[in-house]
Symmetry: C2
Subunit: 475 residues, 2 copies
């Protein structure tokens, strides 16, 4: 008899037959990542609709000694949301059916949502109440808030509003023994001991399954001013960032930089994307101000600050968005990089952060390191400059990639040489994507023994039988 | 032979004789809190100058089985920084000699400081580089950053910039086995597993001793606009807060409310404090906008928003600060409440937070509950309204207080009935002051069994021999 049959039967009893998928054909969308780079079998996919059902799944898996892999929108860029090829096949607990917005308290600036809510849905629900939920990233149309929180997602709003971690007030979490912890507080301040939510934010489902969250909302900026400009180089962009911070303070809403080759790929591979400037330059920055007031005045401030930068010889060219349509079009260029790169070839995405002041050195030294392996290789750069987070992407055509006898080894070597540069500059190999599968060897390499020991002690304390995502995060 | 003599001798060898105080007369400033409400003996006070010396002290105490009590500026409002009367006498590790500002990176918006730096010194060093360290509170002239972080201090900057937790990038911590964990990263993003710093922030020295921190700095607002006004009542103040958030967005820098009796005490007991308005009103709010630009324009915005509130019948009277001197004078009223209350009598400070939308109900119901015990008792209210954090303070003259046969029981009962109201409104008994000694019974009462179990599991994992602050935080 199939030893998993009793578990499947029990899961079906608890969740209903339609909420447990085990046929090979039904599993593809859950066992393979969206870029098609990771695929490994799961025992089944459970689709609970309530925290109580998540708890039941966890208890059953614990009883059967089968590991649990929590999954949201499956948009991980590092294989974090799908099974690994080694180890016991897990039960994937996909949270998509937990997608209720439970409540919004506009006066408190908070909303309670279930883990499976798509990020865009959360943003829209907040906006309908004249509030902002500021976490924003390319995958926002399909990623889910539970995944955003368990990976502590970054994105383009971090400069002003912080990471996902900074925009959550409380959590509901199913623990390794099936207990449901209700930590859904809607408080701006609560100093009663260890802030337990931070155990589950950014730990990639290894300590518990986030089933709901109380999110922090902000006043909704209603006026925006946006420019797209070509700085002389990254060091110039950094100086301009400083000018904007000094002149515009909290209005500074985004400061995103891409390089020439990245812009070319977007223009070539994504319909309706065009170069905003007359010609292609080496570097491009999208800068946005946002406020609750001051349309013309803020546009003038944007223009004035860029003129200052131009007078200082830091800018080659610039264009201003003069209405919301133009503004959206410029943002679409920025948001199209993943789609373009997926279509154009194979990009070895890295996700380093260094101190903001070290970004120019990081780009320069990483370029040198990669070109020492493959001279002249295309490099794409997508930088959240204000966060010190530069996605440095060695890029291959499909044809070139197919020629490598051992592409995995090549990818690992390439990423490692970039991560090495970040490490030398007191940076990290994972700024916002998380560790997933690609970062596991780097965890072993870069994390100090003390940090690994502390993390293992907490893992042992909360999940002593290694039920949640065994083998993940801690090498 | 005195069994502690060998430990004292070893400590003196490691730290130097002048860095170990054990004579009764030398200990007073360390074993008694600043309001004179808690006093209990310590074995000695160690004054290390480096993290290595802190490590040595921890190892020696562990070897001798003597508990360690970390201490900063000893400004706790809940007895958190001094020994308890029960239990083994601890070695107080006072961090005052670790007071170097190690470095500032203005372009990265970060600074590395030692735990014993006084908060005001940190603020000033940041300001000298045109940056803001936004944690600000009444005790800022004497509290230390290590204490601010291990208690996750709040204060008047939380509305805009978050709690102490939100303004730290990295920590250096001495662990229970004496290991020094160097987590002094200066990164805005770092998603490599459990964010370890949150284990030590807000846990009041029970999991490790913070010896240094990398702090997050912000653009320095250079323009301010401030008003002092009398709202009709707390519900009106809340509506006005909403108006300010919608109109002013990120500019809103402070929104602090005090009641009539609190203002009276400040005027009566602190020299040079005057009522800013023509007469005394029931409620008073200090509202401040701050920005990197727009002096007159921002003053107009402030005035316009208050006029809107007046038109809606929400305001009784208002005055605007027309220069920095007037602005400072109005802030001084707010910052003088602790001094006034200490001089005037005995205030039973509570520290509840509820959802912002529930503050008016909290004030009303707490007043009713306290007056059910002692009809007509003076009540002081000092509210960080935008954070949902209202210090509701039953207040006694010294004479009245002396008449209570069991003042401790009375204080506990009073606080508990206020905390009970907060709990009913989904709030907390400790918003920003921490648990210390006064909150310990409330931890036992209000924390769910699950949360206490999780906290104990982490404590056991990190400090298995209960070296740090035994008996604290976890009842």
């Amino acid at each position: 008899m199939n030893p998993v049959a009793p578990l499947l039967a029990s899961l079906q009893t608890e969740l209903g037959a339609d909420a447990v998928l085990s046929a090979e054909a039904d599993l593809d969308g859950f066992t393979e990542d969206w870029r098609g780079r990771f695929k490994a079998p799961a025992l089944c996919v459970a689709l609970p609709s309530t925290a109580a059902q998540v708890s039941a799944v966890v208890r059953l898996c614990a009883a059967h000694g089968v590991p649990v892999l929590p999954q949201g929108g499956n948009t991980s860029l590092c294989g974090g949301a799908v099974p690994a090829s080694e180890g016991v096949r897990p039960v994937i607990v996909n949270l998509s059916r937990m997608r209720r917005i439970r409540s919004i308290d506009a006066a408190n600036g908070s909303m309670e949502v279930e883990a499976g809510c798509v990020l865009k849905t959360v943003q829209d629900a907040a906006a309908a109440e004249q509030r902002l939920f500021p976490v924003s990233l390319g995958a926002e149309g399909s990623c889910q808030i539970g995944g955003n929180l368990s990976t502590n997602a970054g994105g383009t709003g971090v400069l002003r509003y912080g990471n996902a971690r900074d925009n959550v007030l409380g959590l509901e979490v199913v623990l390794a023994d099936g207990t449901i912890w209700n930590g859904l507080r809607a408080l701006r301040k609560d100093n009663t001991g260890l802030d337990l939510k931070h155990l589950f934010i950014g730990t990639e489902g290894t300590l518990g399954i986030i089933t709901a969250a109380t999110l922090k909302l902000h006043p909704l900026p209603t006026h925006h001013a946006l420019a797209w400009f070509a700085p002389v180089d990254p060091a110039a962009a950094l100086r301009i960032l400083g000018m904007f911070q000094a002149a515009c303070g909290s209005r500074l809403n985004a400061f995103e930089m891409i390089n020439r080759r990245q812009l070319e790929l977007v223009i070539e591979h994504v319909p309706e994307r065009r170069n905003p400037l007359g010609e292609l330059h080496d570097w491009h920055v999208l800068v946005e101000l946002a406020d609750t007031r001051g349309g013309e005045e803020m546009a003038a401030l944007l223009q004035h600050t860029l003129e200052q930068a131009a007078d200082a010889g830091l800018i080659v060219d610039a264009v201003f968005a003069s209405n919301d349509t133009q503004r959206a079009a410029l943002w679409e260029i920025r948001h199209s990089v993943s789609e373009a790169n997926k279509k154009a070839g194979v990009g070895l995405t890295t996700d380093c952060a260094v101190p903001v002041s070290a970004v120019p050195a990081f780009i320069e030294q990483s370029t040198r390191a990669v070109h020492a392996i493959i001279p002249g290789l295309d490099i794409l750069i997508v930088a959240h400059l204000g966060d010190g987070n530069a996605h440095f992407i060695p890029f291959f055509t499909f044809d070139a990639w197919r020629e490598f006898p051992d592409p995995v080894a090549m990818a690992t070597a390439m990423r490692h040489c970039v991560n090495e540069v970040a490490h030398e500059l007191h940076g990290t190999f994972s700024a916002e994507h998380g560790v997933g599968q690609t970062g596991l060897s780097e965890m072993a390499h870069y994390k100090s023994a003390i940090e690994l020991t502390l993390m293992r002690a907490v893992k042992q304390a909360l999940d002593p039988h290694q039920l949640f995502n065994p083998g993940r995060l801690l090498p």
